[in-house]
């Protein structure tokens, strides 16, 4: 395991307001960062439906709606609301001591490495 634990800092913790989202590039992958009730959640940046960027969609009342086809997800868990059998891919997030939001891609997590 590398010194950074594969966690990559992507933003300052005060960069996002509550209820806001923003997209970041992490090693060439688009990551969507969402702030809800003071907590950060990170997902794959594109909709599992037809690969449209989720950041272009709407975040309202904890529900993330894709711009293109109105697919909806629970922004706190990534679970599909409509359709319910879809889900966003979730990345691990932590806030570092110096106030940075860092993300570890799910493809880099120890669980993924063991497979």
């Amino acid at each position: 395991m590398s010194a950074t634990d594969e966690f990559v800092p992507i933003a300052d913790a005060d960069e996002l307001w509550d209820g806001e989202m923003e997209a970041y590039d992490v090693d060439g992958e688009e990551v969507l960062l969402v702030k809800l009730d003071g907590r950060f959640h990170a997902y794959d940046g594109v909709c599992p439906h037809q690969s449209v960027a989720l950041v272009e969609g709407e975040l309202d009342d904890g529900v993330l709606t894709c711009r293109a086809h109105e697919w909806q997800f629970d922004a706190a868990t990534g679970a599909g609301i409509n359709p319910s059998n879809a889900a966003l891919r979730r990345h691990e997030v932590r806030v570092t001591e110096d106030g940075k939001v860092a993300v570890r891609l799910c493809s880099r997590s120890p669980a993924a490495a063991r497979q």
Binding site: H49, Q50, S51, A68, H69, E70, N82, P83, N85, A86
Partner: protein, 491 residues
């Protein structure tokens, strides 16, 4: 307390009852439902992934309409249309003439889902599909009507399907078959799944991106708005496929394999030339082949495999045709330009040709020498030598020219005999489509069949043009008046 949608959704959707006064088979005749050998209770498992309530539908559609209207209003004031590249305009003419009435036909198909689909869940979705397609046909007509004052070719948005123009007859032959004449199950597999989920992305996402780059913001916006509906109502195909894979997988495989090839041939005619020849070079996003590989091969086919469907048996030949067929169709369409209702760009200036060679490694070998001969004739001032004097020969399945599905050196005779008559095809795949279901195609004469039967008089090219409804104000010609050919030095 207000109920959530999922609390009342099924109650509102599943409107069904047990028939006691009439035979259920008379209410839902298999000839329209397409239920076939699928047991009645198997449709219980039919479940749409994305749920739609009427309330949500109206709210969202209203927003979409507002968006399209706002963009349209702003742009008509700005006079953007007059500044568009004339080569790009051919894409819009071809799209509107070739698809507006398909949207209209789709209303009938969706209405059939509303009435005859074998489960109330599907019938409910058909209502939204029917409203969607009404919106699309009307949007196209309104868009075209606005532009009539600057360009009479937009009249063909409404008119094309009421003529015998050969390309339109090819489009009509396909959609008559899978939209107007198909039972619900076949229509869901051929239209919802294959055309709408797979292929409309080519026209409505990829071509929309090209149109945006070309500065045609209004049309691009219209295409994108339509696509949001297509993506939603296309989902009627998936649960239908799931039920069929459980109870009649062979029927699903065959219906999709036929529809996939016929769609491929049509998009090689409509979308291929628009992307690789009519879109101005600097504004092309990706090549037609690259779009096909991304949307059809990587996206669409992978999803079908998740359902247990095999790739079509002709997969390798399909991939090979992505290198050749639309180039052959484009060359043929440009050559037969007086039979078109728009002005095609030849798209083979030295710079464009460089791009074609880079995107299609066999293009120069396959088609370069033909264009070289055409260029030499134009440079010698002999434009008449670049115009047709007779008809091509048409395929009895696709109604497209024989030779339009491959490179010249791959061109071979494909034919079948049925009830004492010989039928000809553009490929061994189209021949297979015919052979598995000859009744479907046998009584649909091509333009050439009509010509030989004496239906077209006088029996010459002007007679054929008149029969096709081509009038001087729309008749196609080289959009740049051959300037591209004069760019070659000592050709």
């Amino acid at each position: 307390m207000l109920l959530n949608r999922d609390d009342w959704y099924e109650t509102s959707r599943d409107l069904d009852w047990t028939f006691s006064y009439v035979d259920p088979n008379e209410v839902f005749p298999a000839s329209w439902s397409g239920a076939g050998d699928v047991p009645a209770d198997a449709w219980q498992d039919w479940e749409e992934p994305f749920r739609v309530s009427y309330r949500d539908y109206v709210r969202i559609q209203r927003e979409k309409e507002g968006g399209v209207k706002a963009v349209g209003n702003a742009l008509s004031r700005a006079g953007v249309f007059e500044k568009l590249d004339p080569a790009h305009l051919a894409s819009a003419h071809l799209h509107l003439g070739g698809t507006c009435m398909v949207e209209q036909m789709a209303i009938t198909m969706q209405s059939r889902f509303c009435r005859f689909a074998p489960t109330p869940k599907w019938r409910n979705l058909g209502v939204f599909g029917m409203l969607d397609e009404t919106r699309h046909a009307q949007l196209d007509l309104r868009f075209a009507h606005e532009l009539l004052k600057v360009d009479p070719r937009f009249d063909w948005t409404l008119k094309a399907f009421h003529t015998n123009e050969w390309g339109i007859r090819a489009v009509k032959a396909f959609f008559d078959d899978i939209m107007l004449n198909a039972d619900c199950v076949e229509a869901a597999l051929a239209v919802s799944l294959t055309v709408e989920h797979g292929f409309t992305n080519m026209q409505f996402v990829a071509l929309a991106a090209d149109a945006m780059a070309a500065g045609d913001i209004n049309w691009s916006n219209l295409l994108s708005s339509i696509q949001t509906d297509e993506a939603r109502h296309a989902q009627q195909g998936f649960p239908t496929l799931a039920v069929l894979m459980e109870h009649d997988p062979e029927r699903a495989q065959q219906a999709i394999d036929v529809a996939f090839w016929r769609s491929t041939r049509l998009f090689q005619t409509l979308t291929g030339p628009a992307m690789d020849y009519y879109t101005p070079l600097e504004q092309r996003k990706m090549s037609f082949k690259e779009f096909m590989l991304e949307w059809i091969v990587n996206h669409h086919e992978r999803i079908l495999e998740d359902y247990g469907l095999k790739k079509p048996w002709y997969w390798d030949d399909f991939l090979r045709s992505l290198e050749t067929a639309h180039h052959s169709m484009h060359l043929g369409m440009w050559w037969y330009r007086p039979t078109l209702f728009f002005k095609p760009n030849a798209g083979v200036s030295p710079a464009e040709r460089e791009w074609l060679r880079e995107k299609y490694p066999t293009w120069e070998r396959d088609f370069g020498y033909i264009w070289d001969q055409i260029i030499a004739n134009v440079q010698a001032g002999d434009v008449p030598a670049t115009l047709p004097e007779t008809l091509p020969v048409l395929c009895n399945v696709t109604h497209l020219p024989i030779g339009g599905a491959c490179a010249p050196h791959e061109l071979a005779e494909h034919k079948s005999e049925y009830k004492g008559k010989v039928y000809r095809f553009d490929s061994h795949i189209s021949k297979w489509c015919f052979d598995v279901d000859p009744e479907r195609y046998a009584d649909h004469p091509t333009v050439v069949d009509r010509f030989l039967a004496g239906d077209i008089q006088p029996m010459d090219l002007p007679g054929a043009l008149a029969w096709m409804g081509i009038t001087p104000d729309v008749m196609g010609d080289d959009v740049y008046d051959y300037a591209w050919a004069r760019e070659y030095v000592n050709a």
